[in-house]
Amino acid sequence: MDLTTDFFSLFQLPRAFRIDLVELDARYRDLQAQVHPDRFAHAGEAERRLSMQWATRANEGYQTLKKPLERARYLLHLAGHDLQAESNTAMAPEFLMEQMEWREAVLEARGGGDHHELERLHHRLRQDLRGRYEELAILLDDRQDMEAATEQVRRLMFLEKLLLEIDDALASLEDKAMDN
């Protein structure tokens, strides 16, 4: 167990996409309770520095495993499948078409101040995401099909970004409404 131990081992979880998030929370807190800099504020300098490194590692690991997309990317990374998200942008044309339609719908609803439509898009996208994460779990945990999982993760990266854009659009409408 050292600072290069992988995050699943760090929190003593099986190396899998389906993990027990309650367990992750508990183990993260147990670990921070031991290594957090507040435990070492009165210790020597070497221990203070080590404590900061461990606590940093615990935070990074927790953030990585908590979010499903990050967790999947990390699993692929451990399996030697890095995403090359920027250099490899070849995507199925129909997926890209679908993306453009989504984006147009969001822009239009935002421009027209259509709160209800944005909520509807948000809901639909969330459902779509849920299905895709279920597929991803099967690809990663049951079939160990890393190629197909990589493809799915790359699509999910697009969709998660789109979800954030809808969130932003909703937030800006809300702020406008409250300030008037």
Binding site: R27, D38, A43, T56
Partner: protein, 628 residues
């Protein structure tokens, strides 16, 4: 037979020795000092029994200073040399300061942080704040009857890196060992949470004299976890005063005012604001230096109207923080009100309406931050023993990033990341044969560099000439538990390295601090060298105590030879620190540090294993319990 004593980290197996530690709430308007006495956090009063130390510093021509109540009456009579609300200038340039034109000071616009020209010379906000902290320290030591081991100093959660670093520098200048910079709303949450055994989602709405913070926390089983924070580090009670001030000018149709008259009206504005917390209207009467008299009445409705957009601004930050935390207002179990400005009735009303519940006002909004800080300081110096323990997980308020091509910001650590946090990002050269790379560190949420705060610029040199895109430059950001950033850069293929503590670009370098220390000494009776020696001795003592405590807990991690070497280093340091050779003391400290490095590693490994093993024992017990 003697039983083995099992000690947890943070719990000293040594005979209980109470270490002197305080929490200091270095406020815009007032400063408070608190400590834990027989298990209770208490505010330390001055000799006249007053809890507050007004954050006011007056400089006299001979370089002496008056601080607090002594300086207060001079803000109208000697406004140029009497600095109030200095917190607003910490880590700020002249262009960042609101209402500069109505402030009576003779500002000096220096790169990075603004300075104030007084009759005792040009002073930086760090030096002015240090004067307040020196008085706070003296008050603490008079009460506690000994030298302070350290202090937790609170800062607004929304303070950026520049403002935090400036605060830490001020403490250093005042001779205070900073145990931790603690976010004000988090300090309040500790005081409130421990007092009320609170569990669930809480919001802390902290409207102080010059700053506004909103923090959303999850409290559960001894863990205080900040989910999101937001605010405005230039919005507070002062702005409410300013609105009344402008209203007075408008109503009375006054010609341009002298600094003295302006300061006087500002003081009356503040009094009117305070009066309106419990009255329907407030009289404002000012006798100007010209002999003319202003006689006005401000009612609650008008006051609410002229400050409406200030309150709206706070709610906008509240909405953003809730969104960042992924929560709705009705998921918040309680709203803790902190800061004197939450006494303003329209603030109370707006917060109640927003959260659809009455805010929690059962703690003194002026004292709760200092009390929470004192409680945390007590924990950090190791005065707590077993059981009575908690964990604090705080976040950074603003994203940290780097300038990339075209003046755009690439975010490296997003806002609301739990600290300590680190992240590395790889960059490459964009020209053939490029041997240097400029690195510009910024903080803020906007996409353009020009809209963010510039924290530091440095250059990585000595990159061997390669074709464009071949070099791999890894820039690593590390944010420590105080929320302070350090950045290092390294070319991966050759190992060329550059590192900065993010500091020189906006404020004071270590040399400047050293110069200020020396400067402040020339006015004091003892000289700088004696103080430096004293500091080395205190530091050596601290190091010896920490090592001895570690040895007592974990001697089993060392073999006889290793133990003997560490003990020999301690003995050597103990002898040398009685003498007056500072250099020798420092060298002996370095030696001890070297000898204990491996020990520190083993202790940390043991802690990590303990965290994991504790779990296993639990699992084991459950499994056994489930056996038929």
């Amino acid at each position: 037979m003697a039983l083995f004593q099992i000690a947890e980290p943070g719990e000293s197996a040594a005979p209980h020795q109470h270490k002197l530690a305080v929490g200091i709430d270095l406020g815009t308007t007032n400063t408070l000092i608190a400590t834990v006495r027989s298990g209770m956090a208490v505010v330390l009063n001055d000799e006249q029994g007053r809890p507050l130390l007004p954050s006011i510093v007056r400089y006299l021509p001979d370089g002496q200073t008056e601080v607090g109540y002594a300086a207060q009456p001079w803000q109208a009579k000697d406004p140029k040399n009497t600095v109030v609300s200095v917190k607003r200038f910490m880590g700020r340039g002249l262009k960042d300061i609101a209402h500069v034109e109505s402030l009576p000071y003779d500002f000096v616009d220096e790169p990075g942080m603004v300075r104030v020209r007084t009759c005792a010379g040009v002073k930086s906000p760090v030096e002015i704040s240090a004067e307040i902290l020196k008085v706070a320290k003296a008050r603490a030591e008079a009460h506690l009857g000994g030298e302070l081991v350290g202090a937790v100093i609170t800062v607004p959660a929304y303070f950026d890196d520049a403002q935090r670093q400036a605060t830490k520098d001020a403490a250093k200048l005042a001779g205070i060992n900073v145990l931790r910079l603690l976010n004000e709303p988090t300090a309040a949450a500790i005081a409130y949470g421990l007092d009320n055994a609170a569990e669930g989602i809480y919001a802390v709405y902290d409207l102080g004299g010059g700053t506004f913070d909103i923090s959303i926390l999850k409290l559960s089983k001894g863990v205080f976890e900040v989910l999101a924070t937001g605010g405005d580090s230039a919005l507070g009670g002062d702005d409410f005063d300013q609105r009344i001030f402008c209203w007075v000018l408008e109503q009375a149709q006054l010609p341009p005012l002298s600094h003295e008259d302006a300061r006087l009206i500002m003081t009356r504005a503040r009094e009117a604001k305070e009066f309106l917390t419990s009255h329907a209207e407030a009289p404002i009467t000012v006798k100007l230096s010209s002999g003319a008299t202003i006689d006005l009445t401000l009612d609650v409705a008008t006051f609410a109207e002229i400050t409406r957009n200030l309150v709206a601004k706070t709610l906008q930050a509240v909405r953003k923080a809730l969104r960042d935390a992924g929560l709705r207002p009705d998921e918040v179990k309680g709203v803790v009100m902190v800061g004197g400005s939450t006494r303003v009735p329209q603030v109370q009303r707006a917060v109640a309406e927003f959260f659809r519940q009455e805010p929690l006002n059962n703690l003194d909004p002026d004292k709760v931050v200092a009390l929470g800080a004192a409680t945390q300081a007590n924990l950090l110096v190791g005065n707590k023993t077993g059981g009575d323990d908690w964990l604090l997980l705080d976040v950074i308020p603003l994203s940290l990033g780097l300038e990339t091509m075209g003046g755009l910001v690439e975010k490296v650590i997003p806002r609301n990341s739990t600290i300590p946090a680190a992240r590395a990002q790889d960059f490459t050269t964009f020209k053939d044969g490029q041997t240097a790379m400029a690195i510009h560190v910024v903080q803020g949420e906007r996409e353009l560099v020009s809209d963010c705060r510039s924290l530091a610029r440095f250059e990585l040199r000595g990159i061997p000439p390669m074709v464009a895109g071949a070099a791999r430059i890894r820039v690593t950001f590390q944010v420590d538990a105080d929320g302070l950033l350090s950045v290092s850069a390294r070319e991966q293929t050759t190992g060329v390295e550059a590192g900065v503590t993010v500091k020189p670009s906006y404020g004071l370098s270590d040399d400047e601090i050293a110069a200020m220390l020396k400067d402040s000494m020339s006015h004091a009776k003892d000289d700088a060298q004696r103080r430096a020696l004293k500091e080395a001795q205190v530091e050596a003592q601290r190091m010896i105590e920490a090592t001895q405590a570690a040895l007592k807990e974990d001697a089993h991690l060392l073999n006889a030879e290793e133990t003997a070497r560490i003990e020999a280093s301690i003995a050597k340091l103990q002898t040398l620190m009685l003498g007056d050779n500072r250099r020798q003391i420092t060298l002996a400290m370095d030696d001890l540090g070297y000898e204990t490095q491996e020990f520190a590693h083993r202790r940390m490994d043991q802690s990590v294993r303990r965290a994991l093993a504790g779990r296993k024992v639990d699992d084991l017990n459950t499994e056994e319990g489930n056996q038929p």
